[in-house]
Amino acid sequence: MTPPHVTVVGAGPAGLAAAETALTAGAEVTLIDSAEQPGGQYHRMLPDAYAAVRPERLQHGWRAFDRRRRRVLAHPRCTWWPDTTVWALERLAPHEPGPPRVHVLCGPADGADRRRLRLDPDALVLAVGAHDRMLPFPGWELPGVFTAGAAQALAKGERVVVGDRVVVAGTGPFLLPVAASLLEAGSRVSAVLEANVTATVARGWSQRPWELAAQAGKAGELAEYTAALIRHRVPCRTGRAVIEARGDGRVEEVVTARLRGDWSVVPGSERTIAVDAVCVTHGFSPQLELPVAAGCALRGSSAGEFVDVDDDQRTSCPGVYASGEITGIAGAPAARAEGALAGWVAGGGDPAAPALRHLRRSRDQGRAFAERLVRAHPIGAAWHGWLRPETVVCRCEETDYASICRAVTNVASAAARVAKLETRAGLGPCQARMCGPTVAELSARLRGEPLGRPVEGLPAAVPHHRPIAQPIRLGELAGGPDHIPNDTA
């Protein structure tokens, strides 16, 4: 019997674990990642060219990751496709069972000779992760304003510092590792600002403390970051946020303000800090375009939409599994457990195998941790109070808040797609990855009730609908797929 072919998209903690267990289960595995190296955002590696002597310096769990990476990539049944993007998932006709067809482009994104290939796997594991979420504020379009993730990626991946005097602001435990990375890379961190008030954070973290015990590794990690901040005498404040960035051509100063529990600004509490960079994080948005293209059902939660999975990481779409941050923002340990489960079951392993018990436990603990995270670091309902009519909401298209208000409050243009075409918010190169959730939230608040049910045949106007998941050149598109390399696998 030929072994099943499993395609794993994403080689971060979840995808790498999925590839490993799918191989253990006996499957042929194609592991795909858009980066040159496995690791994802979490284990972002310095390019070989930098020849880092101690890559683990900025990394947690590096040794275990490195062992797994070598094991997977060297496996005879594993095909590793670096620098490869999935640009489309093609759903098959209803009578054809199995996961969607996977259309990929192989080769560096800026390269002229990418190959277009097509895969027809027996199972598909999606482990594509999440990207930074940043709420808009006046001046956030200025050069020098970074997502915390981008700043950390520069520090970890290229050892580039974003500035000499940096403020790190937003909400969530990610503030700490970002600040620590910046310090490590040589920046001076002027302040770390958590927008939620102490009471919110404490309430979220102190309930059901036994759930935290299982995340002892995480807690230790955070303690380490905190120690680094203390060592560098970095002031850390809660209930304070960056509400404006100012500067002539690039950020020169930020205005911070005290916030109430709902993130409304306390008048008169504004203060100005001179900076040459500001890093902001408001959590993470799962990359849902591939799950949505595959037809996977989503589940709503107070933290937004995620892929709905069962106890074995199966999605609603036959043959498609999801793991990692696209099922909930729960951090690397939970992502690894989910990936390992998904890979094993996708590879034909017995879902009742006793060895899976600890994986499920670890995953469930991770999910509990994720819920706690959401409770401790929510986005306050009154955050939009710092927007002004001229504040840019979509940076690609420079759409301001006033335009969105105008389009959405006119019934003739209030439908999501109509408002999008009129305001152009979300039509630019990032394809609403940054502003999509924000515009959806602002629209729902401005518009009140929904306008009606989705129209049969037409895709629902969700911010994650991107049938072309990654840009593809007209010439590449016209050429058609080269060949099907695993056709005989």
Binding site: A88, E90, R91, H103, A112, A293, E397, R406, N410, V411, A412, S413, A414, A415, A416, R417, V418, L421, E422, R424, L427, G428, P429, Q431, E449, P450, L451, G452, R453, P454, V455, E456, G457, L458, P459, A461, R466, P467, I468, P471, I472, R473, L474, G475, L477, A478, G479, G480, P481
Partner: protein
Amino acid sequence: MKRTRVAVLGAGIVGAACARELVLAGLQVTVVDRGGAAQATTAHGEGNVLVSDKAPGPELELAQLSRRLWPQVLADIAERSAHAVRAVEWEPKGGIVVATTDAGAVELSRFADAQRAAGVRAEVLDADALAAAEPLVTRDHTGALHYPDDAQVQPAAAAAALLTDALQGGAELRTGCEVLGGVMRAGRLTGVRTPAGLIEADMFVNAAGPWAGELAARLGAPVDVRPRRGDVLVTTPLPPTVFHKVYDADYVGAVGSSAEELQTSAVVESTRGGSVLVGSSRRRVGFDDSLRPEVLSGIAAKALRLFPGLAGVPVMRAYGGFRPYVPDHLPIIGADPRLTGLWHAGGHEGAGIGLSVGTARLLRNLLLDLPTEIDVTAFRVDRPAVLGATAHPAREETA
């Protein structure tokens, strides 16, 4: 005297245009849509206002009427809602049709001769004139024509402008309100049932686009309108690259064909945002919304035949929509002889954006029993193409 009440069923561009005309004529208008206004076919098209792709005949006459009306209508709306009209992005940029085969050039030339006889401006472009008008177009062509009267709009904004004007004139819009069935009294349609209750009116206008067949069936008077899917590619924003609506001469053939299987032909144009829109495809696949990479490949290949220099341009988005297709490719405009009180305005296939204002003007005159600017016999409801296949309404679903 009690005002005549009209319920327009469908808030796409045709429904919006009809609502506006009827409100301006003094009628009491309610626009009903099961979703939000203009979110379906209207928001998934290219925004064509074309005369160039139409052969002499009733549809060309409707296109010419619409082309005359568009600037007047927009100027009229601008007096009340200047912002809404700015968003329409009206661009009388003209169309250029390029033939890439010898046979295509002969056919194009014959087609244009007939159009000229019907009053269409169609100017032959020699190689130098074409290169001046569109520097990036292929040198490998066999003939080209310039149609100065072709224009383009941002279709969703155009519908929003028409609807905004109708609402300012007193029309009422009810979104999220699906028509479930009709209510008859004394042999005429007097109301439609919706989850939000009964909507009563003296006349009902079926402007449900590709869903017009299903809606009409619910009201007991089926018409043969089917969805014909089209897909469009959108590139990343570019510096000015394409200056007209440029399309391949074989587009005209595709528009007029009835084939179920995939047909692609190149239509390339830039938008005010800098992106280039690349169409087009025609497939009869019911309401299947899934993306087919081979369809997108076909569109891209055809476009590169016209603009080989665009091969390196990234496509960042694709979208598809459903055209309301009638087997004889003609709109349906007028009263339904089988059901008093029911009127139809639809079946424009891929031309509904451009033809909306002309259709609305004709419908208004028919409804008020006034003479129409052009002969509407060809658009009547009781013709074989509209009523003929309704004995097999399930055929498309099983195709």
